[in-house]
Every structure is written in C-alpha cells, then in structure tokens.
C-alpha cells in the first residue's frame, strides 16, 4: 500500500491537515523509551486522564482534576497501592458453593440401584434433579457476572479490578467447561488477591485451583497416563511463551502435575496418583512435583519477560505492531520491566508503579491509542460520564455481543484484544450500547425506566467548567472543545465544526437535551473507542 497522502480534488481534506499528516508520516517523532518519571510540571489534565483510563476505567472531570492536584507520585501510589483504599470484601452476595456438589453416598447407591433395576422413572427423576442443579448454577454464574460488572463500576480500587480482568484473560477459564460457578468465583478471588501482587504466588495458586484443574483436565491426569493439557499451557500461555520449552518439557511437566486434582471445592493432592519418578524438566533433573515445576518456570529468564509483555500490552500499547519506532521503544521498556520483575522476585507492584510514572507511558503517541475492551467501554462510560447503569443484564448481553463475556472467555488463549474487538458488527453494538446508557433507548423499544433515570448532564458541565476553565464561560465552542478533550482526549476542527453546527441549529444553547445529543454523537465517534 502506498503511504502517499491523499491527493484528490474530490477529497475534502484541508491542505494544512494533509501537509501535517505527510510530515508526521515522513518523519515520525520517535516514542521515548525512558522509564524515568515524568517531570512534575508535565502531569496535567491530559496525563491524569490517561492515567485514569489505563490504570482503571476512566474518571470524571473532578477525578481528573484531583489527580492533577495530587501530582504524579501520589496519584500513581494511590492507584497501585490500592490496599490503602478501603474496598468492599469480595463476597457480598454470599454465593452458594453447594449447587454443584458430588453425590452423597446415599445418592450414589440410589442411582446405582436404579440403573441396575432399569428403573426408568427413578433414573428420569435423577436426571431432572441434575438438570435443576445445572439451571440454578447457570443462574448463579449470571449473578456473578452482574456482581463483577457492578464491582468494576463501583470500586474505589479500579486497578484491582482492571488487573483481575487481565489475569482472567491470561489464566482463561470458562464456565462453559468448568460447569461449577463457585469454582469460577473462587478463581476470581485468587486472581484478585494477587492482581498487582506476586505473579509467583498466582502461578503457584493456579495449579491448585479447582476451576483450572477442571478446565485443563488435570483431574484426569495420573501416574502412567498423564494429561498434558495443564503442563503445556503452564508454559505456553501462562508462564513462558512459545519457543521457551520443548515437547519433552511438556511430557515431563505433565508427570510432575499428576495427582493434582480437587474434591468438591477443595484442591486435593492424590499421592497414589502422583508420579514421583525422576524428570528432566526445563534443564533440571529431579523427582519434581507441581510446585517444583512452577519454580523452574519462574527461574527461567523468559518468564519475567513474558509477564512484563502481558502487563505492557494491557496497560500501555499493542506489541508487536510491526511499526518502526513503536516496537523498538516498547521492546526496550518491556526489557526494563522484566529486569524489575526479576529483581523483585515477581512482585509486580513496583514495576507497575514505575511504568505508570514513566515518560514512555505518557508519550503522546501512546495516549488515546488503545482500543477499549467491551468491559472497558461499558464500565468506562458509567464511571467517567456517570451514565445510569440501567440494566446489568442488558449491559452484559451487550458486552457479549461485542465479544467479551466475562467468566466465558472463548478459549484458554483468552481474548485477543486490540483490533480483534472491532469489526463492522461490533462497532454498531458499541455505539448503540452508549445510546442505551445515555438515553435508555434499546435496539428495539425503550427501557421503561428510561425517563425515571435520565442521564444528567448538569454535573458533567459543572465539573468540566472546574477542570477546563476555558469552558466556564458557557460559550458553546469552548464547552464543546472541553467535552471533546475530556471524552476522546483530543479535539479536531472537523468534529468541533459538526458539533457546533448541531448546537447552532438547536437554538445555540447547551440545554441538557442538547448536551445529551452531543454525547450521543461523541460516543459514536471512532475515536471514542480509544483510550
């Protein structure tokens, strides 16, 4: 494809814009790879806004302004060391652990007898009972989806939830296979506990996690006939990445994991099913068990870099992109992060803090260039625009239509993220989800409560006037600029003109109705999908 700029008389692009675009393309400003902290004077509204979006789900103008007044160091510390912030305990709903449970001895005997006697009626009754439990459990996993989405929208510790979502996609486990909602919940708590903490503890935890054991068939792995699924993913997807282990390592690793299973909701080590023999694993030799296997992965140089890459891609930028200048800078930052993670024995907090304070993180070419995940889009709108939540079922359905069904990742690879979120179908769903949140308009019909729960633009305007003093006069042009700056992180002449024209043709005044209309247009902008 040619990289020459458009040069057609029919294309309505101002020459100045084309010239600037051509200059940028011909001579792109390199992205800094410096991990040194941003200077204190450089942490302004745009930087604070960026930090809130990446270390969380965006913020209101007030929150942006608060971070600016705190300065970089305090802001990053507040977001990353979130244990200081009072948060709700993870089990406010009291989810039931006994919906899916192993049959009691009595039930087993009954079923056995019915089968032996070919008692079709009793067997049918047992089947109905089983189906009823499965139905209840599907209801519970739905309740858990609502609980988590609400938590993300309401938490005072946004980074905690954001990273929990990262690890959910990293250690991707789906209810579709696990078929026990409580196991999904327990895993969610495991991931949350270590979200910004120790990756090592998380990896040690995951090989004893019933959901994961079930998902990757380790409950069927025993001495003499090991199942390789968990061993493979532990290296390929969880800890090392392709190319850092051999097929032999998978075979030997699987032996080390034999006997790691669960009973009801608890991890169980079945000694009699464990292969105690000598294994050749990742360059070492010994009678390794699962914990030894994890230790060998953590000792491998590739591991810290693998974790650093994951964090970088989630918090900063796509990598690799195949783009000159971008990948070099990213690569250098990832190496620095990997060194830090190793130095800290897999405690991730210090490296995350350093990253979120770094000059690289605030580079203009890093900002407003990340495609929001469906959850980020929804939670972000609720948190930053303060839209009503309206209907959690509708929002979860929308997230699923956009490709992200929490507790149901598509495969053990998790969600691909980035551009894979976007296609012609999902883009309409994204726009229409924002229409729903702002107005209650559903694709078909209307939320009956829409008028009782209108989007209130007034606080947004007041807050904008505080944070962006230029807009305090109420002059529509200034206000539109401030809204654009706040909602999409940039203003451009074409969008401003379109919106101004709209306001002018609607009496020229920024009534709540006009502001809502403007928000409908802004959230339909391609740029609104970015943060």
């Amino acid at each position: 494809m040619s990289t020459q700029p458009a040069n057609s008389p029919q294309t309505p692009v101002p020459d100045s814009v084309k010239a600037a675009a051509a200059r940028n393309r011909a001579n792109p400003k390199p992205i800094t790879s410096s991990m040194s902290p941003l200077g204190p004077k450089q942490f302004g509204l745009e930087e604070a806004r960026h930090l809130l979006w990446r270390a969380g789900f965006g913020g209101t103008p007030n929150q942006i302004q608060t971070l600016v007044s705190w300065g970089l160091e305090k802001s990053v510390d507040y977001l990353v060391n979130y244990q200081q912030v009072a948060g709700s305990e993870p089990d406010p709903k009291g989810f039931r652990s006994d919906i899916i449970r192993p049959p009691s001895a009595e039930e087993r005997a009954m079923a056995q007898q019915a089968r032996r006697a070919r008692d079709e009626e009793s067997l049918a009754r047992l089947r109905v009972r089983q189906q009823e439990a499965e139905r209840l459990d599907r209801e519970q996993v739905r309740a858990m989806q609502k609980w988590w989405l609400t938590r993300m929208i309401e938490t005072p510790r946004p980074l905690e939830e954001k990273l929990t979502l990262l690890w959910h996609g990293h250690f991707a486990t789906s209810f579709r296979t696990v078929e026990d909602s409580y196991h999904m919940y327990a895993q969610n708590n495991l991931l949350r506990k270590h979200a910004a903490g120790s990756f090592a503890d998380m990896l040690y935890g995951i090989i004893r996690d019933p959901a994961m054991i079930k998902y990757l068939d380790n409950d069927e792995s025993r001495k003499g006939r090991p199942n390789e699924n968990l061993a493979r993913e532990l290296m390929e997807l969880f800890g090392l990445g392709v190319g850092n282990y051999t097929e032999q390592d998978i075979k030997e690793g699987a032996r080390a994991l034999t006997g790691y299973t669960f009973r009801d909701d608890e991890f169980v080590f079945e000694r009699q099913n464990h292969d105690t023999g000598v294994k050749q694993l990742l360059g070492a030799k010994g009678g390794f068990n699962g914990e030894d296997f994890v230790r060998l992965i953590l000792q491998n140089r590739a591991c810290a870099r693998f974790v650093a890459t994951k964090l970088y891609r989630y918090l900063v930028h796509d990598y690799p992109t195949g783009r000159k200048g971008v990948d070099e800078a990213a690569n250098s930052v990832i190496n620095q992060m990997a060194d830090g993670i190793r130095r800290d024995n897999y405690a991730m907090g210090p490296t995350i803090k350093r990253l979120l304070s770094s000059q690289h993180f605030y580079d203009p070419r890093i900002r407003n260039e990340q495609i929001k995940s469906p959850v980020q889009l929804i939670v972000g709108a609720a948190r930053s625009l303060n839209t009503p939540v309206r209907d959690l079922d509708a929002l979860l359905d929308a997230a699923k239509l956009m490709g992200q069904d929490i507790f149901f990742p598509p495969s053990v690879k998790g969600w691909d993220g980035g551009r894979s979120w976007i296609n012609t179908a999902t883009l309409f769903v994204r726009q229409n989800t924002l229409v729903f949140m702002l107005t209650g308009k559903r694709p078909m019909g209307r939320d009956p409560l829409a008028d009782k729960e209108p989007f209130d633009a007034a606080p947004l305007l007041t807050q904008l006037a505080d944070a962006y003093p230029d807009s305090a006069s109420g002059d529509p042009e200034r206000v539109i600029d401030a809204i654009l700056q706040f909602a999409v992180g940039r203003t451009d002449a074409a969008s401003r003109d379109t919106l101004e024209q709209f306001v002018r043709s609607h009496g020229g005044r920024l009534t709540p109705k006009v502001i809502t209309d403007i928000m409908l247009l802004i959230t339909a902008m391609p740029e609104y999908q970015l943060c």
Partner: protein, 437 residues
Amino acid sequence: MNDRIPSAFTRRQFLTTGLTLASASLTIPAFLNSSAFGLPRNWWNGTSTPGAPDERILVVIQLGGGNDGLNTVVPYGEAAYYKARPAIGIPENKVVKLSKSPVGLHPALAPLADMYNDGQMSVVQGTGYPNPNRSHFKSMDIWHTADTTATGDGWLGKYFDAECCGFGKGEGGRPEPNPQAGIAIGREAPLAMKGRMVTPLAFESADLFRWTGGDVSRDLTPAYDQITRREAAGTGADPESNAAFLTRTALDAQVSSDTIRRAVAARPRSAYPQSELARQLQMVASMIHAKLSTRVYYVSMGGFDTHAGQGGEQGRHAQLLGQFAAAVKAFYADLKLQGNAERVMTMSFSEFGRRVGQNASNGTDHGTAAPMFLFGPMVKPGVLTQHPSLTDLDQGDLRYNTDFRSVYAGVLEQWMKADSKKILEGTFNPLGVLTKT
C-alpha cells in the same frame, strides 16, 4: 486520475458516485480493497474468486428445543412406533408417503412433498453423536462446535477461518477478511459461526444493523453521518494507528449497513407465509438477491421442546412443522424466481430428537438421534441413511447411525469445497449430499 492504478479508490467515492477512481488508497475499506485491486472481481456483483465457488451459499436452519424426529419423519410401517405412541402417533393414512422409503413425512410437512418429488430434498435419518447429551445447552453446543466436549470454536467459524474468511482461498497468499462472510438472523451470532478471524454479522432485522441514536432524535442523523463517514486521510491520523483503523472500520460499517438495509428493504418478489422463520428466510432471500458476498446464512426457530400436549397429526408440533415447511417452500420459490436456487443449499438440524415413547402428558422428553433435512436443486434426493431401529434401543432412546459431523463433512467437502478434516479437526466420512459435485 490514473485508472491504471486500480488501488486508487476511496470510500467516499463509493458512497457517493460508485465506482469512480481516485486516489487515497489507504482509506479503502478492507473488504472493498481487493475489489478495487481487481476491478473485474467486485463482490457486490457476485463475481467469484477463481478456484473457489463463491457463488455457493449455505443456509442453516436451527430448530431449537429438540425436534421430535419420529413424528417428523414417521416410520409408519412399524407396530413398535404406534405401540410407543398411542396418543400422539401419526395414523398411517395421514402420513405423506415418500417413494422408495419405508418412512413418510408428518402431514404438516405436505408443502415439502413437491420438493421431495422434484428431487430437491433429502432426509438424513438417525443423525447424532456418541454418548448423547440431553441438556439443550450442552447438546446445542456440541452441534455448534462439532465437538462432543462442546468446546472450541464453531464449525462454521472454523470454516471461515480456514477458507480465509469464506472469501476464497486468499489472494497473494494473504487472508482477506470478508466482514459479511456469515450473517445470522438473530440478536446474537450463534456459536457455530464464531471463529478466530471473523465475527459474523447478526441482527434480528436489518433495521437494527445501524446506529440507534437517530431514533432518539431524528435530526442527529446528518451530524452522525459526518462523524462516521470520514476518510481516515482527512483526520490527519497516522494511517497505521488504531485511530485510522477505527475511522476506516466506521466507514465500512456504514457501507455495510446501507447495503444490507437497502437489500432487505427491496420490494418482495414473491409471497411468504406469516411466521418468524418465513420472515427470516425472506430477509435471507433478499440479501442473496442483492448479491452480498455472504457464504453462510443462519436462521432459527424455537418451540420444539414439546414435553406436554405435543399433539399428533394436529396440535403444537404439527403447527411448528407446518410453519417450517411453508417457509422453506416459499424461500425456494423466491430463489427460483431470482434464478438463484441452484446456488443455495439449506440444511436443518435440531440439538436432539425425543424419546421413542410418549410421556404421561402426551408429550415427549429429550431423546437422541433425529433426522436432518437438506434442500436445494442439487442435493442428492431421497432418504439418504438408514432409519434407526425402534426395538434395539439404548435406555429407551434411538441409536444414531450417522454422525452429524459426516453430514457437515459432506456439505463442507462437496458443496463448499473446503477441507473438512482441517475444519472439523477429525476425519468424518463425508456423506454424499450432492447429485454431482
């Protein structure tokens, strides 16, 4: 203007003037790109990629709830059938007899008799899979993934991925996503269509495949159009940035939405009965008529979970079958009028059949093996496989004799010209489904 550089083609021009050549190659929507590269091959004209039968279309009809196979294709010659179903069995004199076959159709399926007699319909008896699962969800997932553990991507999704997004084998070695490769009529794309590279389009009605903000305030639309129909080059964004990518996709979405809504809004060419399935198939026929690049359409109807009061020759199940038959008949009448019938194969399935014996509520409970139907002028007509025994049962259920994945394999290999082993991740002896391939 240089017409020797066919890549020079902007979206705005496509939107406003059609196939005018201009510059700004970077702004070409991904799925218009190849068309512009080789102007003779325009997807909107339905011209095919050399070597791949782009003109062939598969329509899948899902019958949700577990359709009672034994009252759909009736083994009227067997006493065991009437013994097991004293209240709901279809009397022999009401069954629509099928030539050269010991089984016949439910009388409500009479509208299909002409298609059957014209050699445009096949019945695949006894389809199922090992260790049948009687949960609606699980069994449906098994049919969708073509995997008895019900995990992994959808079988049609894997087809899109393997065949470069259902758009031919890829030119110049580069896969080329076709955003309209699969269209499902419904709120959500079925698991069957979900792959890695392509997300199928899904909409209940074409009118929903668009921005709904215009319904809130109609006068928002002009501003919305300005905001979403921009050229990436006009925004000054780095063409490789995500911002430019989003601007391009936004324009793609507008074009796609316009095309599909215009197609479906076109005046109907023939009459359809009043039913949800008929409405869906009419939409599909309109999109086929409009020469979309879509290879697979997916429609569905529910209500087949007839645990109680199922009825016999009349009643609930009969109504459902009647709607199904009338809709399929109208669909092919429309396609024939369009001259497109030869391009379209239709396949119907349900997640399971029902138990052989009726239950105490004159209904039937979840069972196992059941028939599938194939429609179209080129299908191998007749009853293709053995009817399962009514006496050699597995805990009161029919034993399947045809793995449904053999039917998928036949459709993939012979109709779609695709590698079924790669897509189904296993070897399933492809059932012969075409008169000639």
